[in-house]
């Protein structure tokens, strides 16, 4: 028996030699098929096919054995790799992951900035240069009948106060030619001594004659400090 065995071993030795020279097949099952084989998710036919391939393929046999190692879950409490190499590689990976995102963010910000600049330029150009119109209160000048100023919107009215003292804030009441209130602006303050600026947009007033009453507000009371008449031209 032992002679038979040693004879057989000698003969089987050829197989080992054969195996050393044999090349793996060109085609391999996909990683997903290999893991499915390991997890018993394949049909018996597929299983047999994979086993046949394993007999001929050193690469896949090694991979299958390696998969066993892989599937061992990381034990809780085992310190993870926190060495220098891992830390460096993590930083590298993180910057690689963030790379395109950051670039995207930069491009977005640049686009927003560009649009803002263009928008602002268009707005400024369409608005034209800022205009100011200084109005004197009625009855403050002597002589011939006071001429009615013509105001083109948009404009910033500069209303000169006829008061002798300053008020912490002012209120402007706009009335149409029939003395109907049409607009009121409060919490106005002096921009210069005895001058109150009232900005008016293109659609704030209708065309026609307009009267403004400026009131100085102090201690819940309001004193008239000037009245102005002008004609709106749109």
């Amino acid at each position: 028996m032992s002679d038979d065995t040693s004879d057989l071993d000698e003969k089987l030795g050829f197989l080992a030699e054969e195996g050393r020279h044999r090349r793996d097949p060109e085609e391999h099952p996909s990683p997903e098929t290999l893991t499915a084989y390991q997890s018993n998710e394949l049909s018996p036919d597929e299983d047999e096919r994979i086993q046949g391939h394993l007999a001929a393929c050193r690469h896949c046999t090694e991979m299958l054995l390696e998969l066993e190692e892989f599937l061992r879950p990381v034990e809780v409490g085992v310190a993870p790799a926190a060495d220098f190499e891992a830390a460096v590689d993590w930083r590298k990976l993180r910057s690689r992951m963030r790379g395109p995102k950051r670039r995207r963010l930069t491009y977005t910000m640049a686009a927003v900035f560009f649009l803002a600049v263009v928008g602002l330029s268009i707005y400024t150009l369409s608005r034209g240069p800022e205009k100011f119109k200084t109005l004197e209160p009625r009855g403050s000048t002597r002589g011939p009948a006071e001429a009615i100023e013509v105001v083109e919107l948009p404009v910033t009215l500069v209303l000169r106060s006829s008061a002798r003292s300053h008020y912490p804030e002012y209120r402007a009441e706009f009335l149409d030619e029939h003395d109907r209130p049409i607009r009121e602006l409060s919490h106005l303050q002096e921009s210069r001594p005895f001058e109150v600026e009232v900005p008016l947009g293109r659609r704030d007033l209708d065309t026609g004659k307009c009267r403004v009453r400026l009131l100085g507000v102090k201690d819940r009371g309001a004193d008239p400090v000037g009245e102005y008449v002008f004609k709106v031209k749109n």
């Binding site: 057989l8 391999h28 394993l54 007999a55 892989f70 879950p73 926190a82």
Partner: protein, 222 residues
């Protein structure tokens, strides 16, 4: 979406500080799943990603190192694996094992790298055999015919024996034959054969024992 990271504990401590609904499902599972869940939920993404990376980094590096890649190459390939993991982590389903998914990605990258290296090799400049033999001749390295080499007759006998052996192997039942090939041709250990074939070690032993008996019978008759 807000998730209380530091939810007040009511008795048992929840893993990963995730909402109760999520953690209860993960309570009995591994820390990897907790980390993935946090990444998917968008809570502590950076920290959880780093932990996940550190948890499996050595395994992946080891995988590439064990397949003959240099330290630098292994680190680069490991980067590729994790890059792909984090890019497609949303497609990972909890029903599956993360380690399995990780292995599939690593194996894909390994095979791609082999293919790339193979292509590089094919594109490399070929050296003439004649040049080498001329060099060898010049240095006196050329062996005399038959000196230390096996004779043609021996080679013919070997070939015949091999053919007989392979024919005998082919007559064995498929599973038994594959066990023999894995054992005698590839030199696998019993437990490795058992793993590859998904059978018990006892079955492997029984197959090999039977195979030896049958082969001895068949080859002895020659």
């Amino acid at each position: 979406m807000s998730h209380p990271l530091e939810a007040p504990g009511g008795g048992r401590e929840r893993p990963c500080n995730l909402p109760a609904a999520v953690t209860s499902a993960l309570a009995d599972q591994d820390p990897t799943l907790c980390l993935i869940e946090k990444i998917k939920l968008g809570t502590q993404v950076d920290e959880s990603s780093r932990k996940l990376f550190e948890l499996h980094y050595r395994k992946i590096i080891g995988f590439f190192r064990s397949h003959g890649f240099s330290s630098e190459e292994s680190r680069d390939l490991t980067q590729d694996v994790f890059y792909r993991v984090f890019k497609s982590i949303d497609t990972f389903r909890r029903e599956s094992r993360f380690e399995r998914w990780l292995f599939e990605i690593a194996l894909n990258i390994y095979r791609n790298e082999l293919r790339r290296k193979g292509a590089e090799k094919r594109d490399a400049v070929e050296l003439s055999i004649d040049t080498a033999s001329e060099d060898d001749e010049a240095s006196g390295k050329i062996k005399e015919p038959g000196s230390g080499e096996r004779s043609v007759l021996e080679a013919l006998i070997d070939r015949e024996r091999r053919a007989t052996l392979i024919a005998a192997l082919q007559s064995l039942p498929p599973q038994m034959r594959i066990c023999c090939v894995l054992r005698f041709e590839k030199g696998l250990k019993y437990h490795e054969i058992a793993t590859a074939m998904k059978i018990s070690i006892e079955t492997v032993k029984a197959h090999l024992h039977q195979a030896r008996k049958r082969l001895t019978g068949e080859l002895g008759e020659d």
